[in-house]
Symmetry: C2
Subunit: 584 residues, 2 copies
């Protein structure tokens, strides 16, 4: 893996996102394309690549200042300087603020003393731990006996000939469920001294006089600003997860189009298994969702690349949500594909073993999905509160409604019961349904929290009671975002602005905008179907309408059945990267 990474670095692929003056292309979009394409090939390589160029390089670039960039960035991009990103500790994963590693400032020597006070304070699951020469170590910065919260310090951990330096203890994390091409390890520091200049001090440094200084007064805001600059990982990781899902779907659909089982009616040959409605139901909505998630992630990338400072909180929240949604989707889709390919899918040569094992941790790393969804929900509440205070009771309507041009359909008794296909296929139904769900779940979340607090409950207790509600609200928001991004893509297609990711699908399809429109329609209705319990509870649809939606999903699956081969071709994965073709 290290050799492969060096190969990629030699071709300039590692440094793509870095500024030109450090050997890069200054292009996040190109880096993203490289990252997700490598994911078709080998996920260990993807992650090892991401750790070196994205996490370690990203920490230096985003948290460091020019002197750090000059010192490390070029050598990082060429992989002459292998580094690692040492944040997570055994005792503290999700709760980064609770990290126990300390960096104590020693003014006499102008040094920082980096130390792990306990076994559980050791860094864990650190990628590149066995190869890295440097580590960006996240630790509590203590100056003159006062803690200033989590900061990152560059700590050399190995000599140029690969020997572990004094005071550093490294242990391999051992065999994992997957990603065994990544050298995850544990790291402990025993009073390791580094020059104070090794502090990545963009958001907090130490003056010549030995006092702490930061451009951000509030420790909380400082903490979140620093973490916020590292959001890139959450923009890129879900793209790799989606690549894995697309590989799995391509393999399973192609198998489903060739595999026959049980005599067909004519008895001349057995039935192609994708002609079974149940098999269509298993795979085709997942293909549709892969397209929708792709469009959602593209939108996120676009927002991230063109971000302004003020948009950062919103983009962070969006990234948290989409990372979770896409990686959960990947886990579920790959599992369904394995089951849909039976015994053949169990053989390692057909790739599901690696796809499953390698991606399983995607729902945990770069932020545990359930924690990220709560983070998003809290951000939605903040926005909600803001609009609420500004505009009174119905501001939430504006908040989630304002970003779309369509009129929100209210729960009028006629519409609740309307089941004709024209209505069901209109955006004024399905887009409104997504908006309604997102809006309602955030506003009821806000009211519940307010009511609990009014009753005298602490906000901590109130938050606990609403935890699953928060996750549901965050999911609804992400789904709305994915649908809107998808519809924007469909519209752009209709206008003749063809997105590259869908180009391949067009080869075999006369009318690409119509096809893609139907794909997104399936995504929309399949999603509403999955939430139909909630919609029925909320009296947003009648029982008859709910049944009509299920029938429409059946119908859309059947209608897309002849196109599904072209749709997975449209993912554009080269055949040679799809493992051994599944023999029948």
């Amino acid at each position: 893996m290290l050799r492969w990474c060096k190969e990629l670095a030699r071709e300039g692929i590692g440094a793509l996102s870095y500024p030109v003056e450090y050997g890069g292309h200054n292009s996040m979009a190109e880096y993203a394309a490289a990252f997700e394409t490598i994911a078709y090939h080998d996920l260990s390589l993807t992650i090892k690549f991401g750790v070196q160029f994205g996490l370690w390089g990203g920490a230096v670039y985003n948290l460091g200042t020019k002197r750090h960039h000059d010192a490390y960035l070029r050598a990082t991009g060429t992989l002459e300087l292998p580094g690692c990103f040492a944040m997570t500790e055994t005792g503290h994963g999700s709760n980064v603020r609770g990290l126990e590693t300390t960096a104590v400032y020693d003014h006499d020597n102008r040094e920082l003393i980096v130390h792990s006070p306990s076994v559980a304070a050791g860094k864990e699951y650190i990628g590149n731990a066995m190869h890295a020469r440097m580590a960006a170590v996240f630790c509590q910065l203590i100056v003159n006996g006062e803690s200033h919260g989590v900061h990152a310090v560059v700590v050399p951990i190995r000599s140029t000939d690969g020997l572990t330096l004094p005071g550093i203890r490294v242990e391999d994390n051992g065999y994992k469920m997957g990603l065994n091409g990544v050298d995850n390890g544990r790291l402990w520091f025993d009073h390791v001294r580094v020059p104070v200049g090794n502090l990545l001090d963009k958001y907090g440094g130490i003056t010549e006089e030995g006092t702490y200084t930061s451009p951000i007064e509030s420790p909380t805001r400082r903490f979140f600003t620093m973490l916020g600059t590292l959001v890139g990982g959450r923009v890129f990781v879900p793209r790799a997860g989606l690549s894995a899902a697309k590989s799995a779907l391509t393999i399973a659909v192609r198998y489903g189009l060739r595999r026959r089982q049980f005599p067909s009616e004519s008895m001349r040959s057995e039935t192609i298994i994708l002609d079974y409605p149940n098999q269509q139901r298993r795979l085709i909505p997942l293909v549709a969702k892969a397209y929708a998630v792709q469009f959602g992630l593209d939108h996120l990338l676009d927002r991230y690349v063109n971000r302004t400072e003020e948009q950062m909180r919103e983009i962070e929240a969006m990234a948290a949500g989409l990372k979770s949604y896409a990686t959960w989707f990947a886990t579920a889709a790959i599992q369904e594909c394995r089951e849909a390919t039976g015994g053949k899918g169990y053989l390692a040569e057909n790739r599901f073993a690696d796809l499953k094992g390698d991606t399983d941790i995607f729902t945990t790393f770069e932020g545990d999905n359930t924690v990220l969804m709560q983070l998003l929900a809290k951000s939605l509440l903040t926005e909600f509160k803001k609009s609420f205070q500004e505009d009174g009771n119905f501001a939430v309507l504006k908040f989630i409604g304002r970003r779309v041009g369509t009129i929100v359909t209210e729960q009028n008794p006629y519409v609740v019961r309307q089941t004709d296909r024209e209505h069901l296929e209109s955006r004024s139904f399905y887009l409104s349904a997504f908006q309604f769900r997102a809006r309602r779940l955030v506003s009821t979340l806000g009211s519940r929290l307010r009511a609990y607090i009014k009753e005298g409950m602490s906000s901590y207790q109130a938050g606990l009671l609403c935890q699953t509600h928060m996750i549901e609200a965050a999911e609804a928001y992400v789904e709305l975002l994915v649908l809107e991004a998808s519809l924007a893509r469909v519209d752009a297609l209709g206008d003749g602005r063809l997105p590259s990711s869908a180009r391949a699908a067009s080869d075999s399809s006369a009318d690409l905008p119509d096809l893609l429109q139907k794909v997104i329609l399936l995504y929309a209705h399949h999603t509403i179907e999955q939430h139909r319990g909630w919609y029925l509870e909320s009296d947003y649809i009648s029982g008859q309408k709910s049944k009509a939606i299920r029938k429409l999903v059946d119908k859309l699956c059947a209608e897309l059945r002849p196109e599904v081969g072209a749709l997975v071709d449209g993912f554009g994965i080269p055949d040679k990267l799809l493992g051994a073709p599944i023999a029948l």
Copy 2:
């Protein structure tokens, strides 16, 4: 693995289910206990053990006659004679009737010529393929040019010193997602001659005169009778899957009770993660379901052990459904447990890697779950049709209603809206809800099929259109069965008849019947909640009632939180079989 199996054979564990005269105990229940206990230890060993003693031994025992028992059974039980069960072919997995391997009778030599006519006709995924000396080969029996359908023939494939015999080609299946301790392989036969006596001829033989003879006239009935005798695998495999789920749940719950993350309100220590409602929601319903599934599987085993000839069809259908339900549950539960244990869960030392990889094929082998669920649905329809013909329109009510003593609550407007806890916790609500769902889904399935056929559709086409409906109906039936079996266990407990599997839980709980009652109540309501879309569509519950059910599930999870440690202790898995204790 072979050595371990020999060790088990030496202790008489392999032969437990065989008749005493062949070295056994004549005890299916003891065999089941051994099988599921080995599954706590190592799933490859479980499957290797099952292939030798259950599948190969079972084929000889169930399809052979005394001369085969005398020749093979004792040596099978001691593992002096390693065998394999060669049914599945590359081209035909689920469709066993379509197997292409032939056994042509040669009267002059009183021999059968076993042959694989194509590459795809080769046997595949055959466990023990690399160690076996004999194979029970399933093939089309052809006598005097006429095919009599699938029969099993004992074919020697290796010499006593392990050399492959002439005409036999064996290939290892290669690396798999899991169960790599099982030597799955592929087998081809090139005109291999065996004495006609090797035909396992309980249900179909060849006379001295060279004509085919069978006690069962109809080839279809003969086929299903033969397959039916092999149902044992579907009785035992889900028990091993459940063992794996119980291992995963024990590990995840214990981790959840020790792991802390994020400051609690008091700020004195961080919060135990199982005190987060979302974490409770993830794990506690799964613990409850594990108990319920256990009771369902115990009921199936009991029925299987005490079966009469007439009950076989019903028991087969039940086994098909429970095998699917339990193995899907295992896959889902193990996945949830991995995610709930974060990075620690990803390390191989904490067992989820093996539990996931090893059990993933359980949803495919011993019959693909979706195919089995349709088999069950068809059997329900047959029963339904029978009662329908006997008693007219409302017979289906009797069919699914008759097996329970309670009165079926009809959809009266008051009950549909009733949300008080007493009502929700009463069997007259939740048991009736399960009955209603099972009954309604079977009866609407029947009506739909009838209507399609009346419109002139072929029964094949009609069946295709109703495929997902069939699977839903089968699931509802299994859930009713699981609930009934669980309630019977709860009642038995209340009467002081303590089941052994729940004994350990009693150590820490003052009132076991109450605790178990609550566990099953959670299973019932969590299941209804998962189907709430369907119940709402069917106007069986109001939106308010659906919300009340969700709240009750929240509440039951919280109420069971203090007991969940004892509940997983109640699974009774020895600590040393739970891998490295997850370090915090």
